[in-house]
Symmetry: C2
Subunit: 284 residues, 2 copies
């Protein structure tokens, strides 16, 4: 099944377009026993299993590579375990690794991401241009895998580079055009990362994708701790006529560590509750 | 010792500003016995030891993360072994990982790169802006580590994004300005990746760095297989008055697999010979 079809099917099945970031911070994982690998693995297994048990399956799960790699091999083994569990449960797996190198090197990264980590989709940088992302696009075209290219990121300083005026347009608008162009033959498997923190830019980009009649899956970070609103981006997508089932609105620490705010020891139950709450805000 | 001081000292000590890329491609590694981890590890250990024995120590070694990660944990364990061997031999270690995420995530990547892999320096994407690279710059300022930001890459399609005209300047020129600005307090530890494949862009960027009186280490890929000339970029640096000892001119497959062209079984000796040849072309 194509990545874009997987997004649609799983959104229907689960009733959710929430993407749960899975970003381990050891100090916040309330499991006392076991190695680093075991703590991280068990933390996310329990959260995923609780979400399934309580009818709050997220529409995707997105481990961010950095948060595992910071713990060396123990962290990377935990990443492997988490990826396997996500796949076993049939939830779309987005590896957030922001890879980006020249073509030959990106071909090796594509093997890493799709063959080794067995991800359905990966985040990538567009900085090096079309020939650099071509090996990934080939996986989208031929094997139905997915990619999200950074388009307008959610960090506070994103405008410094991404809102430069280039050839009479904003830089991020040029990237949006490239995303549509590069993905022409990719069956809707080439998507864009567009942050929820700047609603003006978000509206403009979504409007452009709808007008261009390209099917561009959106990965939307920046909701929750970073200050963006799930309700606002959903409203913007509805207004533009964007197909909601193709979008994934991400929350990481807001779900992972929901137990802190809910003041409970049941971290897995708290995470499931946070997913339900976010589903409600989105109101699919 | 600061990264920029390390570059200077090692250039003097070895008489070389060659950076040996260490990019394993199993099919081209002529070692028949052992696991994937052992083959890759032994291949590079033997090359490094031969280079040292034959007085052809490279001015830096740069493993590209992708080429190890494509082989999963075996590849990553080999990367760890190669990194350790490079450090033991006192050669500057550049991890070519092109990391690039929002600030909080880049802080985790910095721990990965400097604490776990024990690299002296890492390649990064500037796409997300200053607040995103700030955690890495902090390591440069406070702990003397180094970074190279992608400025003008060596791939054929680099111009598509990097030569856009933005605010009346070329996009890569704006990135050069940012690199100088972001590195203001970083003691010359914030460098730039500038490919050898487009000599016009190369000259312009080096000229700008010299004029701005910023001490910006250059990492120069694209020599050899990709078509750039070590002699040409060296001449351009001399002409601009750039301090050569701060530069590193990279060759990966041209050194790693030099035995293929030299038609010998002695891959380690062939690599040492290729380093000597490149040193000669550069003529430090």
């Amino acid at each position: 099944m194509n990545y874009s079809e997987l997004l649609r099917e799983k959104a229907k099945e689960s009733g959710s377009i929430v993407c749960m970031g899975a970003d381990p911070v050891l100090e916040r994982i309330p499991i006392k026993n076991g190695s680093v690998e075991e703590k991280i693995t068990n933390f996310y297994k329990q959260i995923i299993d609780a979400a399934i048990a309580e009818g709050a399956v997220p529409g995707a799960i997105k481990p961010n590579y950095a948060f595992y790699a910071q713990y060396g091999f123990e962290g990377l083994r935990a990443l492997k375990n988490v990826c396997r569990h996500v796949k076993e449960k049939g939830i779309p797996l987005i590896l957030d690794a922001k890879r980006g190198d020249i073509g030959k090197t990106n071909a090796a990264y594509a093997r890493e991401v799709f063959d080794f980590w067995e991800a359905d989709c990966v985040t990538l940088s567009p900085f090096l241009g079309q020939d650099s992302v071509a090996p990934f696009v080939q996986w989208c075209e031929e094997k139905g895998k997915g990619i999200y290219l950074l388009n307008r990121t959610s960090n506070k300083g994103a405008a410094e580079i991404q809102n430069l005026e280039c050839d009479g347009k904003l830089f991020y608008s040029i990237i949006s055009e490239k995303i549509v162009k590069w993905g022409t033959n990719a069956n809707g498997n080439v998507g864009a990362v567009v942050g929820a923190t700047s609603i003006e830019e978000f509206e403009r980009i979504v409007g452009f994708f709808v007008q261009s009649k390209a099917s561009v899956p959106l990965l939307i970070p920046g909701v929750g701790a970073q200050g963006g609103s799930a309700a606002d981006v959903t409203a913007a997508m509805r207004k533009a006529g964007y197909e909601l089932q193709l979008a994934r609105i991400n929350s990481s620490s807001g779900i992972n560590y929901a137990y802190e705010k809910q003041e409970t020891d049941d971290f897995a139950g708290a995470a499931a509750k946070a997913i339900k709450q976010l589903n409600k805000e989105i109101g699919l």
